[in-house]
Amino acid sequence: MDALVDIEGLSVEYRTDVIAQAVQDVSLEIRKGETLGLVGESGSGKSTLGMALMGLIQPPGYITSGEVTFDGMDLRHLSKDALRNIRGKRIAMIFQDPMTSLNPVKKIGNHFIEYIQAHEPNTSEGKARSIAETALADLGIPASRIDDYPHQFSGGMRQRVMIGLALALSPSLIIADEPTTALDVIVEAQILKLLRDLKAKYSLSLMLITHNMGIVAEMADRVAVMYAGRIAEVAPTTKIFEDPKHPYTKALLDTIPNIQVEDKVLNTIPGSPPSLTDPPPGCPFHPRCPYAFERCRAEVPEPIVTGTESEAACFLLEGVVARHSLK
């Protein structure tokens, strides 16, 4: 298997007045050239996971265990400088809110130039500028706007700039954390198309973090579902939608209103997400799970293979398939 990124048993906690477990024992891989959709509610830990991949977890956040391997390199034990070299150059990140992701006092062009020169110090300013202009052109932004300031751009254009910055140095992996949540639907469609085109053009891998199942259905090859800091289920996109195995995934899909069926009442998942500072023992979903039984309250389920490239962490599946963990 062509794994570009291999995450093994990663845990991240936030220590303030209380300790919050944001990510618990997550094992996941991202393959070369694929789009992996990472879905979950707010607080499920998906953004934290993305940040941890980039090495952007800062105090009061701490990575407490686990390994992260990127293209054969052990990211957790790299020196700060080596990690900084990879960040932005081999792995790039796009953030949720384009309105606040750019430095208000810096021209757009200078964002690029500074960034390019930080990674390739021998680039002349002229050369960096032309790279910037090419990147902007790729995104549909006229080169004449290179000396404008962020506040002179619309939200959609700013997000394009962010994408441009992410791509400028040809990374292998892009992590997009809710890239379209702050944009209206029309702009969203444009941005998603842009991402698809660029991915094909530059043979990228994309980790798409979102809470929107619709985007996932449209963009992702495989889907990983997170709940309360743990992975609930991983499977190819069509499989997830047609035959979800984990009770949470099922419940999640049930909440999507179906335009063809005349439902009078919207489905919801009863209860609320667990507290990250004081998680219930056993499976994190058990308080809200209609199928929960005794064992669910006591033990945390390990992922169980349910098919090719599919696995789910639920005791219900135990009798069904042989018990061994495969990623």
Partner: protein, 325 residues
């Protein structure tokens, strides 16, 4: 404008005839009448108001009541450079200390951060003249390291730029001595400035420390800082070009206000260190009951503060691309 009117009201209208205040009750009525006339105080009030404003437009700050009716303007100008020098260097001290300590605390967090916060509160609560005294005591009297009063040591004459044998002096001794190439005098002037500027600068830095710290803490958590880090920029770039640069913007807006506070402090500092500036001039004139001179000086200060505020506004527009005049 409003300020100028307020000054006029307080100094001229409310007390009635200032000449009466100046002299004892049993003074010769003829003398009082003559003074009153000379100062134009017997003219109708609204005319006096217009005279006042008109005069200011021409740089006329009134005439002294001290017996010779000398114009106040030149007196103010002769004492102004000392105050300017003091405030300028003190301001630099305040900003440097304030910003770097504030940024330091914001980045470090934990105990160093708390100490910085407390320092900010503590130093601002210090009466500037008390701090001045402590500094004088420690560095001037217990340890004879620095001079404690005045601007130049005995035997020094302030020099200036010589062009064709004519001396041009700004009155700012550090500047003048550099212009005339007199290094020894420059060092002497600087040595005299160290303690007063430290005292005034440190106290004022309190505000800058607290504001920088608060702004930095907030800015460091903003999206564009995280995004910058995600691009693999050096931490130093992220802190200075991204976080600090943006955190400082709101601080510029209060600099005008801080200048006013700086002037108040300067009055006290000049008194403490026996520096002959506008502050000591003001107090001096009050002791002589020279009300017109007091009025003129206060007006000058008000104009000064307004100008500084204006400059600060322009500076801010230059620094923040989101604001355009």
């Amino acid at each position: 404008m409003i300020l100028l009117s307020i000054v006029f009201i307080i100094m001229r209208v409310l007390p009635g005839n200032p000449v009466l205040l100046r002299f004892e009750k049993n003074a010769d009525p003829a003398l009082i009448a003559s003074y009153t006339h000379q100062l134009g105080l017997d003219r109708p009030l609204y005319l006096q108001y217009f005279d006042y404003l008109w005069g200011l437009l021409h740089g006329n700050f009134g005439v002294s009541m001290a017996g010779d009716f000398a114009p106040v303007g030149p007196q103010i100008l002769s004492r102004f450079p000392a105050t300017l020098e003091l405030t300028f260097y003190a301001f630099i001290v305040a900003v440097l200390v304030g910003v770097f300590l504030g940024a330091f605390g914001a980045r470090r967090g934990g105990a160093p951060d708390e100490s910085v916060k407390v320092f900010g509160i503590l130093i601002y609560a210090f009466p500037v003249f008390f701090l001045g005294m402590i500094l004088q005591l420690v560095f001037g009297i217990w340890v004879h390291l620095l001079p404690v009063t005045g601007r130049l040591s005995a035997g020094f004459q302030p020099t200036g730029l010589s062009i064709n044998g004519v001396q041009y002096q700004t009155g700012i001794y550090t500047l003048d001595s550099l212009l005339s190439g007199n290094v020894v005098e420059f060092i002497d002037a600087v040595r005299h400035l160290i303690l007063p500027c430290l005292a005034l600068g440190l106290v004022i830095s309190g505000v800058f420390v607290r504001m920088t710290r608060a702004n930095m803490m907030e800015t460091m958590r903003s999206d564009f800082v995280t995004a910058a880090r995600a691009r693999g920029l050096k931490e130093r770039t992220v802190v200075y070009a991204y976080a600090l640069r943006n955190a400082m913007l709101p601080i510029v807006t209060i600099m005008g206000l801080q200048f006013a506070i700086l002037l108040s402090g300067a009055i006290l500092t000049e008194t403490e260190f026996s520096i002959l500036g506008l502050g000591t001039y003001l107090i001096d004139r009050i002791n002589f009951r020279d009300y017109t001179a007091v009025q003129g000086t206060v007006v000058f200060l008000a104009l000064l503060i307004s100008s500084v505020s204006l400059i600060v506004d322009i500076l801010y527009a230059y620094l923040d691309p989101r604001v355009r005049l």
